[in-house]
Amino acid sequence: MVSRQQVYSSSAALQAAPRVEFGYANAHHGEIFQGVLADSGGRLRRGLVSLVCDVMTSEAIFQPDDTGIVSVDPVWKTKARRAVELTLEYLGQREVGGRLVIESTIPPRWGMGSSTSDVTAAIRAACGEIKLSPHIVAALAVQAETASDSLMFGNRAVLFAHREGVIIEDFGGALPPLEVVGFNTDPTGSGVDTLSYTPARYGWREIEAFRPLVGLMRQAVQMQSPHLAGRVATASSRINQRYLPKPHFDKIERLAEDTGALGVQVAHSGTIAGLLFDPGDPSTPERAETAKTMLDELRFTTWQFQSREL
């Protein structure tokens, strides 16, 4: 999938790379949309639109050496190690090895992209001063971990084929600005193992119903409308209730309505959810506080962040 040829010429310059490289990646907060779409050839492809969240991050530190062997700390972050190996191979630096340290504040199995975040940070650290395009980072990430989120594209609104590592559609701009009150819908549960979770088998009605959602997403990005993005998120969350139901979803929807939220978004393969508000609306701070108070009463721990151009 990834050709090494195009960067061979620059690999010589990399020999003199600094001894310690850093890479960062944000978490995401689940999705605004996830579903299946027919491409122009009629083939069905799974895709998602991630909601990036900069409250939590993964940081990778890579100390290259000439051993040709990559080690990782903590040792169980094998996908991140694999990502470094693939990146070095892509850069034509098979002789380079090194020590990779991952420090992440992202809880695993909540659907916040902890694995993709580690992998993306690791790839960014491994390539040092060379800046790989997000498309290449995505392809390497999917090779390293089978299915990836679209973190490497930052806040750009893209419909991302998470099992192929390619963009199905670029909506042509950033996600509309969103104020998010997030929480874990299943704080006592063990979360979701993204890879062992069987992908949803959608019926034809749902596959068709995803089309209007993507249509509205295009308008939402073009108009930078938090309101319309909220509508897409709620509809996608509702469809997902048939496959990976969030506990108390009815209550959450009512709470969204009571607090004047624009919509409800979820991690389609995780347990977190978010109430969406318009950051430009002067009543948003008060509404968000009310939402947090009400969620506290339901024994959910909450957090808050703003999605913006990163």
Binding site: E208, A209, R211, G215, M223, R231, R238
Partner: protein, 362 residues
Amino acid sequence: MKNREVDQTITDALALPRLVRLSENLFAASFVLMKLLPARFILDRARDAALIGRGSTIIETTSGTFGLALAMISALRGYNLILVSDPAIDDALKRRLEDLGCRVEIVREPAPVGGYQRARLNRMAELQAEFPDHFWPSQYDNPHNPGAYAPLAELLLEAIGHIDVLVGTVGSGGSMCGTGEYLRTVHPDLKLFGVDTPGSVLFGQPDRKRMLRGLGNSLMPQNLDHSVFDEVHWVAAAEAFRATRLLHQRHALFQGGTSGAAYMVGDWCARRNPDEKVVLILPDEGYRYQDTIYDDEWLHSQDLWLPDPPREPHLVDHPHEAGDRWTRLQWERRSYEQVIGGSFIPAQQSSSFLAGSPSAGD
């Protein structure tokens, strides 16, 4: 962002409407041939399920545009299409269907109950026995008919975003129930205004001869889910024809009589609710009606000439109160039984087609 693309067939190129802004808050979705959407989707699903292939026989009863859509696709894909129609079919359409390789069967006598529509279904049954391996698209009860309208909803949402009211004519229930339900996945408060005509049974009037074709029905289709409609309008032929001409005169939109009926209601709705975005479905072009709706002499000869269109509909509480003029009833998403009361209960209504079993492959 998508580049402009070459369509693989004319049926793909024509499937979606042009969107035209008629006023500040009134948008028209203007089709060349709306029925291409359900015809294509129904035949695609049948093909995917290996029910049909090149050389298969397809039988349907129609005297209108659904037949034309089936004939165009059948010509392109090598299906043998037999259409059962009645004397109301116009000669030009019949010749066009036959030019596309379609066999057109005309029933000559109406059935005592159910009229020509019943007589056509009877002839259908004979043909179905004659061709046991045939496929019947069955637009009146095939869930793939309303299911076909996702690309229309996608287009409307992509281009317009928020939509408050959808106005369109009702015949099989496919376009309004289908588009309405898809739009409501993101806009649950969307209002649906269905346009019918006096003498159609769809919303509870007694069956009788109708001058306005292409909407209304003598039989109750399974695909009509009454509970999605907020308001129902009945538009008489003369009014619809006047509005068809107005649509042409004011906006240069050359459409058929059903488009006129929808325009009359949509224009009224948009004027009454200036803060709401109203979308109007215009199902087909005007060429088939050049010698009728677009001919003043013909209109006079049929006593269908109306110098001025009515400005307001007449409000009623029950379909039986509706006369032979523009009438509206606030349906308020009720079931047929809830509105009609009385003893006549039609065939069991299908519920929301989107609420069907999520994984069912039907």
